[in-house]
């Protein structure tokens, strides 16, 4: 019995590599694509699907595409019987897509605005950048004032006024998105705090506002802002069309932001409040110094997700007659000198590319941030 029971390994084993068929590229293929008949079938279906979609798509977008010329160049012809995308159309209209009817001589102001904005976003988004508090001040206070002066004009310092009727394209899309962001964060914080307040009236006003806005479609909020708002103010104060849409978007985004921030506030353990109160901090100090910084940090990914949704939602101002990027595409696409099915598809493809790059970029950023947060806590 004892000889059976006792065992002692005398020499350590060398580490072996896994058997050939299970490792390396072959092993990977086997495990991930061909592990069972069912899996082989799935793989085959996927391959067929890809073969069916991708080559024609590439042919349309790149190989057979028309890169320069006018409408005629984009139509079927003897040497190009199946013309691809009409990128020439985008080339011709590009400046309209970016600036709308913004006076050509003044477009440097729009460019400057883009640069100032990109600088602010870069500074805020780079999590290890120095002095991000200054960045926040820049983004939420300096930039709005600067942009207002730049874009609307300020005759006193030699910048002629430019009516918002002339604005259009990417400029308007970016302005709507940025105003939504800049307003919704502080308003969202206030609303979230109000909703968690002990004071009944404050709490219920916040609840009513948030639930009302979240319960209706954005398009009705925009209609409300564009047709009801002018009725509610004295005639001489009636805001211009773009401003009305901006008010609607800001209201809408704030309500969603408030819910996201409230979720962050709920995630802060009670002990944090109690510790802050034990140190003698009052409500506002506790909130500003202890609770909010933590809540904003844990909920930052969700805040950016609200921005992504907001960016996509800016297209809705189209419906109340604002010339945002999508509307300029629609307008150019319908231009009788150009109109054709291929031009339409090209226009939409270009718009899709623009929105996709912006939104996907933001969502990648969120992804990276979530991974960082998970690493730190896990």
């Amino acid at each position: 019995m004892a000889s059976d029971t006792f065992y002692l390994r005398q020499t350590p084993l060398v580490v072996l590599l896994p058997p050939r068929a299970r490792a390396g590229v072959l092993g990977w293929l086997r495990a991930n694509l061909f592990s069972s008949p069912f899996n082989i079938g799935l793989t085959a279906i996927c391959v067929i699907l890809i073969a069916w979609v991708v080559p024609p798509l590439l042919r349309f977008l790149l190989v057979n595409a028309t890169w320069s010329g006018d409408r005629a160049a984009c139509l079927p012809s003897a040497d190009n019987p199946h013309p691809g995308a009409c990128w020439a159309f985008v080339r011709v209209w590009l400046s309209y897509f970016v600036y709308g009817f913004y006076p050509i001589a003044q477009r440097w102001r729009v460019d400057l605005f883009f640069v100032a904005l990109a600088f602010g976003i870069g500074w805020l988004a780079w999590l290890r950048a120095p002095r991000r508090d200054v960045a926040a001040l820049y983004f939420f206070v300096v930039l709005p004032v600067l942009s207002l002066i730049l874009l609307c004009g300020f005759p006193l310092i030699g910048l002629p006024g430019v009516s918002t009727v002339l604005w259009g394209g990417v400029l308007v899309t970016i302005v709507v998105a940025t105003v939504g962001m800049v307003c919704s964060l502080p308003l969202g914080i206030l609303l979230a705090l109000a909703r968690r307040s002990q004071i009944p009236v404050v709490k219920w006003l916040a609840v009513m506002f948030i639930e009302f806005v979240r319960g209706v479609p954005l398009i009705t909020v925009l209609f409300m802002a564009s047709v009801m708002l002018p009725l509610f103010v004295p005639e001489q104060l009636s805001p211009d069309k773009l401003l009305r849409a901006l008010i609607g978007v800001a209201m809408f985004a704030s309500a969603y932001m408030a819910e996201v921030i409230r979720a962050g506030l709920i995630a802060i353990p009670r002990g944090q409040y109690e510790a802050a109160q034990a140190l003698g901090l009052g409500y506002w100090r506790t909130t500003a110094l202890v609770v909010l910084p933590q809540a904003l940090r844990v909920t930052l990914p969700n805040i950016v997700n609200v921005f992504i949704a907001l960016f996509k939602d800016t297209t809705l101002v189209f419906i109340v007659g604002i010339f945002d990027f999508l509307r300029t595409i629609e307008a150019a696409r319908g231009d009788p000198r150009w109109t054709s099915p291929i031009v339409s598809i090209t226009g939409y493809a270009f718009a899709a590319l623009f929105y996709f790059v912006c939104c996907y970029g933001m969502s990648r950023y969120v992804h990276g941030m979530e991974r960082r947060l998970a690493r730190r806590s896990g």
Partner: protein, 395 residues
């Protein structure tokens, strides 16, 4: 000691002061809100009087006088009222939302599960779909389907002929329209009986399993009852169903079932878009069930289908249902983008046409918002009931 005494003496009065402060704040807030409302009402009255706009809901019973391209209930421009137009729009909203909810759920579950597949290619493709669709604005997708796809279809003359006598052209999709003979009610009754029997069979099988432990596979019998029975009755009753084949004339198509391109575009875009979000909901729900649950079930000898049915799905569904409902709500609200392509939904009919004709912005927008708001509130009420129910079970 002295310190403690002092602070406890000071506390009540401080709290007292704070209470008074709170009260003052509340009164002031109420006053400000009321004041704003009053000012707005006053301005509205002045502005509307100046523009010669009526007020009140009297317009509800006036003759509408505009056409609606798709009406599920009888409607005519000359005879129907604005109230009728409201119902037509609301029904159209509900129709497109309901169909899109069914389609997006089916597609979303398929893609969500595909994303969890061990097959690398399948999960990558599903992931690509989700990323692509989620990051492109819905409005752009609607415009794409409508203008670039459906409106670029051939004109009437060059219509694509579909099997069974359908047509597809840039005016829409024309399908054979089912015409039910009176005898068809027998088939409906047979279907009802089939479903009832299938349910009874299920209950009987469960009882039997509890008694004897034997498991019966019910897929065959259930199908036979639900599909087979009505079909046999259909044959016996002499096929009481005919199809009105669309008939292509020179200028238009008569008869048949007409699906507007506006409806189709909105339906496709809403389904495709929402499916991407539902896929994420499904994936998150399934991933939220810890791997240990599956392992424990398998270690007990349960087969993988049984494990899914009895252990994984019930737990995942609890995670899935609330966000899924909010996706359904989003879809319903997003259907208002119909206005961009002229599908006559509630917003297009009411906040569009009716508003333009009557000019009564306040009333019209208020009614429109109230509809969506009540849908949202009822749904969130149901959800909180569901949440409470689930919380009660697990205690």
């Amino acid at each position: 000691m002295a310190d403690i005494a002092r602070s406890s003496a000071a506390r009540p009065s401080r709290r007292h002061a704070r209470n008074i402060g709170n009260l003052a704040l509340q009164v002031a807030l109420v006053a400000i809100v009321l004041g704003l409302i009053a000012a707005a009402a006053h301005n509205a009255a002045v502005n509307m009087a100046k523009a010669n706009i009526a007020h009140g809901f009297g317009f509800w019973n006036n003759t509408a006088g505009f056409d609606i391209s798709q009406a599920l209930v009888g409607y005519s421009a000359s005879a129907s009222t604005f109230g009728r137009a409201f119902w037509v729009g609301l029904l159209n909203t509900l129709l497109v939302s309901a169909v899109a909810i069914v389609l997006s759920t089916a597609l979303g579950f398929i893609i969500g599960i595909a994303r969890l597949s061990h097959n690398w290619l399948v999960s990558r493709l599903a992931g690509g779909y989700v990323e692509l669709i989620r990051n492109i604005p819905l409005l752009l997708q609607i415009l794409f389907w409508y203008n670039a796809v459906l409106k670029s279809l051939p004109e009437l003359k060059g219509s694509v002929t579909l099997p069974f006598g359908g047509f597809l052209n840039n005016r829409g999709l024309f399908l054979p329209k089912p015409v039910f003979a009176p005898d068809f009610s027998a088939v409906v009754i047979a279907l009802a009986i089939g479903v009832a029997c299938a349910l009874a069979l299920r209950i009987w099988a469960r009882r039997r399993q509890e008694r004897t432990g034997e498991q019966v596979y019910l897929l065959g019998p259930t199908l036979a009852l639900i599909v087979g029975l009505p079909f046999i009755v259909f044959l016996v009753a002499g096929k009481p169903l005919t199809f009105g084949i669309p008939d292509m004339g020179r200028f238009n198509i008569r008869g048949g079932l007409e699906i507007l391109p506006e409806f189709a575009a909105l339906l496709i875009a809403l389904s495709v878009y929402t499916a991407a979000f539902i896929a994420e909901v499904v994936r998150a729900g399934v991933l939220a069930v810890p791997a240990g649950q599956t392992e424990a079930a398998q270690a007990l000898g349960l087969r993988s289908t049984t494990t899914l049915r009895l252990v994984v799905v019930p737990q995942a569904m609890r995670m899935i249902v609330p966000p899924l409902t909010s996706q359904y709500l989003n879809l319903t609200k997003n259907s208002s983008l119909a206005v961009a392509i002229g599908y006559p939904d509630l917003v297009q009919v009411f906040a569009g046409s009716v508003l333009n004709i009557t000019g009564q912005a306040v009333e019209v927008i208020a009614i429109t918002m109230a509809v969506y708001l009540s849908i949202s509130l009822v749904t969130s009420l149901l959800m909180s009931l569901y949440g409470r129910m689930v919380a009660v079970v697990e205690r």
